[in-house]
């Protein structure tokens, strides 16, 4: 009897603490989820638009050049827009965050820009309408030194060339 009561009390305490910590976890994940998934930026703070509903940039994970589902979606929109505006050529700029060596980041930016370019080509845009340039870590959009700032800077940006 005595034993089961104390057991029940302990159980309640554990249950309560679980609920509290669950709330705490949920709260933090929602704020981060609004801006980042893994360490890929998913917000819209820095995004500009080539046309209505056509975002100009996609974001990458640290040291990666793999296109996320959202990035592929953005690039398909860019490809559609480029098909409708066949006189426009673009430059795809590749960028890295500040947490790598300068020379490696130049190569990484080039790799990211080409990942975006290749996807546009897959969706029917002629390679000679797309040039690439890497800026490595030389042209951040966000000058903070924190994971969110870095995630905004790991990007490729499609810019009108004419």
């Amino acid at each position: 009897m005595n034993f089961s009561k104390s057991f029940r009390n302990t159980f309640l305490v554990i249950l309560l603490s679980l609920i509290v910590s669950a709330c705490a976890t949920k709260k933090t994940t929602t704020t981060v989820e609004g801006q980042m998934q893994g360490d890929v930026y998913t917000g819209t703070d820095t995004v500009k638009y080539l046309a209505d509903g056509v975002p100009d940039r996609v974001f990458f994970a640290t040291n990666e050049s793999i296109l996320t589902t959202k990035s592929r979606d953005t690039l398909r929109k860019q490809a559609n827009w480029l098909r409708e505006n066949s006189s426009i050529n673009v430059v795809v700029e590749g960028h890295a965050d500040e947490r790598g060596t300068r020379e490696y980041n130049l190569a990484l930016g080039e790799r990211r820009a080409n990942a975006a370019k290749d996807y546009l080509i897959t969706y029917g845009i002629s390679a000679d309408r797309i040039s690439v340039i890497s800026y490595g870590k030389e042209r951040p959009v966000d000058s903070g030194s924190n994971p969110l700032s870095w995630s905004k800077n790991r990007r490729s940006v499609t810019v009108k060339a004419n």
């Binding site: 040291n63 050049s65 500040e98 947490r99 790598g100 060596t101 300068r102 020379e103 490696y104 130049l106 190569a107 990484l108 080039e110 790799r111 820009a113 080409n114 990942a115 290749d118 340039i133 890497s134 800026y135 030389e138 042209r139 951040p140 959009v141 966000d142 000058s143 903070g144 030194s145 924190n146 700032s149």
Partner: protein, 448 residues
């Protein structure tokens, strides 16, 4: 821009260089007990003082030269220059024959004395190095040069003293080429800049109209190779510092970057990026022949030759992450040498051939370190929030690199500065620059 040095060197009296002396400095380990040395102002007579004012607008160039020497010896970390206020003997008398007991009294173990004259637009300098404990002269030298070269005379004296007391070549008569930085992080203006190793005589070689990165000297220190975004086409350039002429290196249909000279000065080695892949190439500067050295779908960059031109070290992410590799200079026998925890980049072969300096990133910290050329004996010299790109002093005893500070969320508090550290891991210090600075490259010894 760099004037060819009109320096006539004559040795009028030199004790056999390897003679036994009581004072010597071991520079192979951290020197926690720097040698007390007295640098007496170089004596100058009244006639020369007048000429000094006319020629250089400096009243006492002899005293100024001694300050250059004193500062060099101090920043080497191996010497402790004593306060001139304690000196008992006048410069001219001390130069003829020091009263050793007076200098021993202020605890000096070595003494530098000298004399300068300026006549007929020529600067004549003689100096002597004295061993106070043994009570004798260790070295005596004289130079003649143009008066405007007076700081270089101070550097050459420093090199001779360093060499006599440590048994190794000095590194004071050298220059640093680097990238000067100004403006906010999101719109940084970068210029090529060159200065004496002690931070004096800064000159800007570009105007800041286009982004420039990673300048590196050739072995004679008269040419520089660097990356420029001129016309928004990032390409490796070659710049002749004396004439100011520059040209694009090779004819590549894409970005070339991470350039360096081969130690014989005949080639430029660099990366070329095409279709998302960066490989290493060389171009022969004489016949312009381009050779592909690596051919791998990974990023291969930051190449650096061994001093005998037979090997190349570089970093590659072919293992999945950035690591350091060594190969023969024809691209064969590629071997990974870095196996520690973390990422490794920017390998640079020591001018002595036995070590490779690198940048390491591990758990959010950046390190400058050295390892043997087979990857063994890894030693981390300094840890910080961000630092990278070491460059060796010509004697292989000191590394210069750049360090950036963390910004707050508004981007405030950011700075980029040059720092140096001894191979021993001691004597870490900031190198003074007029502006923020990055990507330093150390020249060879200019007077040899």
């Amino acid at each position: 821009m760099i004037r060819i040095i009109n320096l006539f060197f004559f040795i009028f009296f030199l004790l056999s260089a390897k003679a036994y002396s009581l004072i010597e400095i071991d520079i192979t380990r951290g020197n926690l007990d720097p040698l007390p040395i007295a640098v007496s102002p170089l004596f100058q007579d009244d006639n020369s003082k007048r000429n000094s004012i006319n020629e250089l607008k400096i009243e006492n160039v002899g005293s100024e030269i001694s300050l250059v020497v004193e500062n060099n010896l101090k920043i080497s970390g191996l010497f402790n220059p004593l306060s001139k206020e304690a000196f008992l003997q006048k410069p001219d008398i001390a130069h003829l024959k020091p009263r050793f007991e007076d200098w021993a009294l202020i605890k000096a173990q070595a003494l530098i004395t000298g004399k300068v004259t300026i006549e007929d637009k020529k600067l004549k300098v003689e100096f002597r190095l004295w061993d106070i404990l043994a009570g004798r002269e260790m070295m005596a030298l004289a130079f003649t040069t143009v008066p405007s070269n007076w700081r270089r005379v101070g550097h050459i004296i420093s090199d001779k003293v360093y060499e006599r007391l440590t048994g190794e070549k000095g590194y004071f008569d050298t220059r640093i080429i680097y990238v000067s930085e100004e403006g906010p992080k999101t719109a940084r203006v970068k210029k090529l800049a060159i200065m004496d190793q002690d931070g004096f005589n800064t000159k800007y070689l570009t105007l800041g109209n286009e982004l420039v990165l990673t300048p590196r000297f050739n072995p004679t220190s008269q040419m520089v190779t660097y990356l420029s975004y001129f016309k928004n086409l990032p390409r490796v350039y070659l710049l002749d510092i004396e004439t100011g002429t520059q040209e694009v290196v090779g004819d590549f249909p894409g970005m070339t970057f991470a350039p360096r000279f081969s130690p014989d000065g005949k080639k430029i080695i660099m990366s070329f990026a095409k279709d998302g892949n960066s490989d290493i190439y060389t171009m022969d500067l004489e016949n312009r022949i381009v050779e592909r050295i690596t051919n791998h779908p990974s990023i291969d960059t930051s190449p650096s030759y061994s001093p005998d031109n037979r090997f190349i070290t570089f970093n590659s992410d072919r293992s999945g992450f950035q690591q350091i590799y060594v190969m023969k200079s024809d691209g064969s026998n590629v071997k990974r040498i870095s196996f520690g925890k973390g990422l490794y980049g920017t390998p640079v072969w020591s001018p002595r051939g036995d070590l490779i300096a690198f940048t390491k990133l591990h758990k959010g910290k950046f390190y400058i370190g050295v390892m043997r050329t087979d990857g063994s004996g890894e030693r981390l010299l300094t840890e910080n929030y961000y630092q990278e790109a070491p460059s060796w002093s010509p004697n292989g005893r000191v590394l210069i690199f750049y360090r950036e500070t963390k910004s707050n969320d508004k981007g405030e508090g950011f700075s980029a500065k040059l720092w140096s550290i001894d191979l021993t891991g001691y004597n870490e210090r900031q190198v003074q620059t007029e502006t923020d600075a990055s990507d330093p490259s150390w020249s060879s010894l200019l007077s040899n």
